[in-house]
Symmetry: C2
Subunit: 398 residues, 2 copies
């Protein structure tokens, strides 16, 4: 009995970490839903679209047993594979899939015709094998070309898939043609269903996401800069509060590694039609340039931040530069926040220029302080401190 | 006649830009093949695998018409979809696809049984529709959980696909079970073919790629640092040569936006078995930490680089710090290059420590120069210059 009870205890003990894991997983999932309810809505949309399309094909053989038959599964498959989070991604995948299936289908039928035309039974598999090999190899290599990869990667994959399946299906001529036609039709139906569900019910536009993302990044930079202005330069000795409000200083950090996200959104946005405030040929590429500038700016703030937290300023030194530094930070921060707001509302605020003029004036003041303060050897210091920082970083690295 | 000739001329003129585009596209493609011949080999491998698998299924109905029949296309489909560039990615996708198909197949058969068990013809589509809807919604939402997305995204997609296709196939009971079994078998055959071709013919290991990538990054940093040492601090006034050899100074730039690449490789590497110098449970996560440190270091070099190119040092100031700065750069650069070499050869070089000790000694020297030079107000400068840089960056931004 004692042994058994012991085993039970062990069982409970063993279960505990698992149930803990389940709990943290559950709370993680809940957090995702709360942070972005669009993800929850998207999941329901996908479920609805798949259920309706598959039920349509469930009923279809009851009415007309000849119908699409087995090919019907391609419609369900298309909905599942093509239904993405944003409208742009869904449209891109659908168009890729549709065009690639059509092209590969025609080419596959042609290859099949050519092989049967040769007459000889021995030549046929050789011709087919060679054509599948060469088409698959060339298309796979094309997928490495960066420009094609960004926009047509999925299409090339589907092209290989459809071509090899159609050309080597081992059926007689007219069946192959029929097969190709039904495949294209069912894929069109599936793609259309995915697009309709995606656009009609609470659409998520990649272009709008991109626009808001960049605006938020600029705002984050503004908040960080303002934080630096008030934290480091104004209040001199409040250490504990500094620690408390550190969060607002590090807003910029999410910007540094955002390049991949931005590039994806631009690729999706290019597929999207006119929506909201954006025209069809909105210059999406420009957002990448702004993103790069924002990242550069975030890196500068990062350098400033690590300098500020690693060195101890003397009281008098701090006093000298305090006023213009605070002003630069706050004015630039306000300008950035204003730019973000004007991006979000898509109206130009005339006050932005005045902030920048003020910041420029403060920068000029700062420069004159440096010059007048007799700090001739400023340049050396600049060299020294980053270098020692690098040296210590390298030591960390080893 | 004149009109016709004119039209021909226009035709030629119109063709020119197109043929130009084709030419640049062709040279681009050639460059990709020359830069990484493994991409060419990969394309040929894919072509070979697909051609062989599809020919196998082309011959199969000739021997035994009952065989796998239409399901055979799933083998071709699996090869096309699962065959990725590295072994890890291929294994990950195959395992995901296999397990997801098996689980979803069993669950689909169960749902189908449940629906037919209900007896009533009206209840059946409701039960099936609800089950497809709920499974698809939940699985789609799971795809947003970052941990699941990294490793099991493809599996979840296939799970939704297989479940909806099996449970709503509109066939009688035993056919559904048969269908599920043949699907799993053909997918296993396709997956196995993809894995065998990928591993046997010139395999590309994601783990090895990751290891070499990080080593190359460290080497690049070393080269950049050494370049800074010889360029900026030793030769004082050679401006034109500086411009010429700028390239070696900017080696570090490719490191800054490499986070996404590294994360992908780590995810793939985790799927790989023991290969070459790497054991099965090689601590791949550690590479991400090294990658982050390398990126931090690259950002520091970036800051140093932009400071160096934007400011003009005075001759005397430069002379004062020249010797220790050169030494720090060269010693740290050598240490980094040695670390990269020891990573590549996987042997520890004892000389690394000596480089670091020398660099540390030089850093100490530099610090004493700063102190002795009466540069008390060093800290301020640090504050000023990044801030003015930020201010000017912001002005660029507007």
């Amino acid at each position: 009995m004692a042994v058994k009870k012991n085993q039970e205890n062990v069982g409970i003990l063993k279960k505990l970490p698992v149930s803990n894991k389940v709990c943290t997983f559950g709370s993680n999932v809940k957090k995702i839903g709360e942070e972005d309810p669009r993800k929850l809505i998207h999941s329901i949309k996908v479920g609805l679209a798949i259920a309706l399309v598959s039920l349509f094909y469930y009923f279809e053989p009851l009415f007309n047993y000849e119908g699409f038959g087995v090919s019907s599964m391609w419609a369900v498959l298309t909905v599942v594979v093509v239904f993405e989070f944003s409208v742009g991604a869904t449209l891109g995948k659908s168009v890729n899939r549709g065009i690639a299936t059509f092209l590969a289908g025609s080419l596959g039928v042609a290859a099949h015709k050519l092989a049967t035309f040769s007459g000889s039974n021995k030549l046929q598999p050789i011709i087919l094998g060679l054509s599948v090999f060469s088409v698959a190899s060339i298309a796979t290599f094309m997928r490495f070309v960066p420009k094609l990869k960004a926009r047509y990667d999925y299409g090339l994959l589907i092209f290989i898939l459809t071509f090899s399946m159609i050309s080597v299906s081992g059926y007689r001529d007219h069946v192959v043609l029929d097969k190709a036609i039904t495949r294209v039709t069912t894929i069109l139906i599936g793609g259309a269903a995915a697009i309709v569900f995606n656009v009609v019910i609470y659409p998520v536009w990649a272009g709008e996401d991109l626009h808001n993302l960049i605006a938020t990044y600029i705002e984050d930079l503004g908040i960080s800069l303002e934080g630096h202005g008030t934290q480091y330069f104004k209040k001199l000795n409040i250490k504990s509060e500094e620690e408390l409000e550190r969060i607002s200083l590090e807003e910029y950090k999410c910007v540094i590694n955002s390049k991949a996200t931005e590039e994806n959104l631009v690729n999706f946005a290019k597929w999207e039609p006119r929506h909201g405030k954006f025209k069809y040929r909105h210059p999406w590429e420009e957002y990448l340039k702004i993103g790069n500038l924002v990242r550069k700016c975030a890196n500068s703030i990062n350098a400033l931040n690590s300098d500020l937290s690693s060195c101890n300023m003397t009281q008098e030194g701090r006093k000298k530069i305090q006023e213009p530094c605070t002003k630069i930070c706050i004015e630039c921060g306000s300008a950035l926040k204003e730019i973000a707001l004007s991006m979000k509302t898509m109206t130009l605020y005339p006050t932005i220029d005045s902030y920048i003029l003020k910041a420029k004036a403060s920068a000029e003041k700062l420069r004159s302080i440096i010059r007048s303060g007799g700090l001739i050897e400023e340049d050396e210091l600049q060299k020294l401190l980053p270098t020692t920082r690098i040296a210590s970083l390298m030591l960390d690295l080893v």
